[in-house]
Amino acid sequence: MCLHENNKLDMITKYIKSIVLIVILVFASCKNKEHQYHNLIEKIEAKSANYSGTNISSEVYNETVKKIKISEGNKEFYITERKSQITSYNCSECHNQPIKLLKDKHVGKKAHWDIVLNHANEETMNCNTCHAKDNMNELRSITNKTIDLNLSHKLCSQCHQKEGKDWVGGAHGKQIGGWAPPRLSQTCTGCHNPHSPSFEKRWPAQFNIQKVKERQ
C-alpha cells in the first residue's frame, strides 16, 4: 500500500520537475538580451534608430572632382559638373548661325561634325528634342522650360522616369569617391553618351585558364 502511494508521489514530483525545467528552458532560450535579434532586418532597424553619423567621410576622395550640389525630392547630394568638362563650351560661339550654313562645304569639318544620333527612333528623337534652337548653351524640356547643361538629369528623366527615380535613390548609376557621405554620383552623361547611350558589346576582362585545367 505504502509503496504504491510513494510511487505516485514520485511520479508527480518527476512530472512537476520536468515541466518546470521545460518552462525555464523556454524562457532562457528567448533572446531578450541586448544585441540578439531574430533576423538581420530587425537588427538593422534597431541599430539605426539612433543613427547620428560616423567619423568616416569620403570628402578626401571627392576633393579633386569638380562637383555641384543638387537636391531632388528629399535627397541632397553632389554630382559631377559638366559644363567645365566640355571643351567647346559656350556652344553659341559657333552656333550663332543656322546649322545649314555651318554644314557648308566651305566652312569645313568643325568640332563635333561626326555626331550620329542613335537614341530611340526618328519619330521620337531629333536634335530639337533636347536642344533649343535659339540658345544652344541650354537644354529644353518637353514643356519648353530651360534646363541647365549641368542638370541634364532633369532632361533625361522626362522619358526615363524610372531610371531617374532610381538614380536619385542610389540604385542606378555609379557612385564616385566612396560609400561614406558626402555622396558623389556620376551624372547620366557621365556613363551614357546622350547621342548614343547604349553600352557596346565587348569581351570579358578575364578568362580563368586554371579553372579550365582543374575541371578537365
Partner: protein, 351 residues
C-alpha cells in the same frame, strides 16, 4: 573492449561480432596488434628501428632546433638575419588577433612591415584599423545591369594580392540562361565570348558576409569571425588550414591556398590591412573581405569601384540616407539560399 581495436565506445548489442574477433585473435596478443590499422602518430613513432638509426634521427632533430635558436642569438650572423629570425620567432608565438591588445596589434603590424622590408626591400603600409561604430556594411547587386564584363574580378585580384599562378578569384560571374532563373547547375562561370550573349543574363557571387555565418561556427580554432561592422574576416596566422569552413559555406565564398601565393613585385598592392589583403602563406584560407583596407576608410570595394555599368552598390546599412538602404526599401530585393538562415548581407535586385 580491450580486445577490440576500435578507439570509440560502442554498445555491444550483438554478441556475435565480439566473439568471432576474439576467436580470430586467439591467445597470442601479438597477432592482434598486427591486424591493427596504424594511425598517423603510430606510423611515425611505432616504426621498428635499431638503436643507431634512432639516435641519428634524434640528434638531427635536436641540431635543427638548436640551429634555429642560434641564428637569433649568435655572435657571428649579421644583424639582418638576426632581426629576421627574431621577427619569425615573435610571429610564431603571437596569439589570436581577436585577443590582442592594441599595442600587440601595432607590434605585429610593425613586425610584418619590417619583415617585408628585410626580405624585399619595399615598404608596405599595413593597417590594423578597427571597425567604426554605427557601421554595418551591406552590398547590393543589380542583375539587370550586369553585362558579364568581369571587370570586377580583375580589380579584385589586383587589389587583394591573390595568387597569380593558380588564378585565384574571390568573385564568380555566372552566365545563366534566360527563362530558367538562377540555375547554378547549368550556369557557366568561365566563359570567353562577346558579352552580353544572346539569351543569357549575368550575375555575380562572392563571400556574402553573412550575419549568421556557418563558416565562423565550424572553425575549430576560431581563426575566422565576424567583426563589429559585419565583415567576416580570417586571421591568416591563426588558420590551421583544415578547410572545414570551405565545406560549411553554402555559397562557395572561401578559397584555400594550396601553394605559397606569389604576386609579382610590381603588382603587389602596398596598402594592406592585417585582416585583409596582406600577403598570405601556404595552407591558409582567404576570401573576399569587402576590401576591408578600403571600406574602413570610406572607399568602395574594388569591385564596386570598377564596375562600368554601376550594378554594384556598397554602403552602410545603418545609415538611413545611404544608397543601400534606399535599394532595400524601394527595390525588389532577394538573397540567395534564404532558407538556410545564414542572413547574408548581399542582396540582388533588378530594375
Amino acid at each position: 573492449m580491450s580486445s577490440n581495436n576500435k578507439k570509440w565506445f560502442s554498445l555491444n548489442l550483438t554478441n556475435k561480432s565480439n566473439k568471432s574477433e576474439s576467436r580470430g585473435c586467439g591467445k597470442e596478443f601479438d597477432s592482434c596488434s598486427n591486424n591493427k590499422h596504424k594511425d598517423g602518430y603510430d606510423q611515425i613513432m611505432d616504426v621498428p628501428m635499431d638503436r643507431r638509426s634512432a639516435f641519428k634521427k634524434i640528434t638531427t632533430g635536436l641540431l635543427m632546433g638548436a640551429g634555429a635558436v642560434s641564428t637569433s642569438c649568435s655572435v657571428v650572423s649579421g644583424d639582418d638575419s638576426k632581426e629576421k629570425s627574431s621577427i619569425e620567432w615573435e610571429e610564431y608565438f603571437k596569439g589570436n588577433y581577436k585577443l590582442m591588445t592594441d599595442e600587440e596589434r601595432n607590434n605585429t603590424v610593425d613586425r610584418l612591415v619590417r619583415s617585408y622590408e628585410l626580405r624585399k626591400g619595399e615598404k608596405l603600409n599595413i593597417s590594423s584599423k578597427d571597425a567604426e561604430d554605427d557601421v554595418l556594411f551591406g552590398y547590393a547587386f543589380n542583375i539587370s545591369k550586369c553585362q558579364g564584363y568581369m571587370d570586377c574580378i580583375t580589380a579584385c585580384v589586383e587589389e587583394n594580392n591573390q595568387d597569380r599562378s593558380s588564378q585565384m578569384q574571390y568573385i564568380r560571374i555566372h552566365e545563366m540562361d534566360d527563362g530558367k532563373g538562377f540555375n547554378f547547375e547549368e550556369s557557366n562561370d568561365n566563359y570567353y565570348h562577346e558579352v552580353p550573349a544572346e539569351g543569357h543574363f549575368y550575375m555575380g557571387t562572392q563571400c556574402f558576409h553573412c550575419e549568421n555565418p556557418p563558416c565562423v561556427e565550424v572553425c575549430p580554432v576560431q581563426a575566422t569571425w565576424k567583426e563589429k561592422d559585419g565583415i567576416v574576416v580570417i586571421d591568416y596566422d591563426w588558420c590551421i588550414g583544415c578547410r572545414y569552413c570551405m565545406a560549411a559555406c553554402p555559397y562557395d565564398g572561401r578559397r584555400f591556398n594550396w601553394k605559397t601565393p606569389e604576386v609579382p613585385e610590381e603588382e603587389v598592392n602596398k596598402n594592406q590591412h592585417y585582416l585583409g589583403n596582406r600577403l598570405r602563406k601556404k595552407g591558409v584560407m582567404e576570401k573576399c573581405t569587402f576590401c576591408i583596407q578600403r571600406s574602413r576608410i570610406g572607399k568602395n570595394p574594388a569591385c564596386a569601384e570598377a564596375c562600368p555599368t554601376g550594378s554594384r552598390t556598397f554602403g552602410n546599412l545603418l545609415d538611413p540616407n545611404s544608397n543601400i538602404r534606399w535599394i532595400l526599401e524601394n527595390k525588389k530585393v532577394f538573397r540567395l539560399k534564404e532558407d538556410l538562415g545564414t542572413e547574408p548581407k548581399f542582396w540582388y535586385y533588378m530594375d
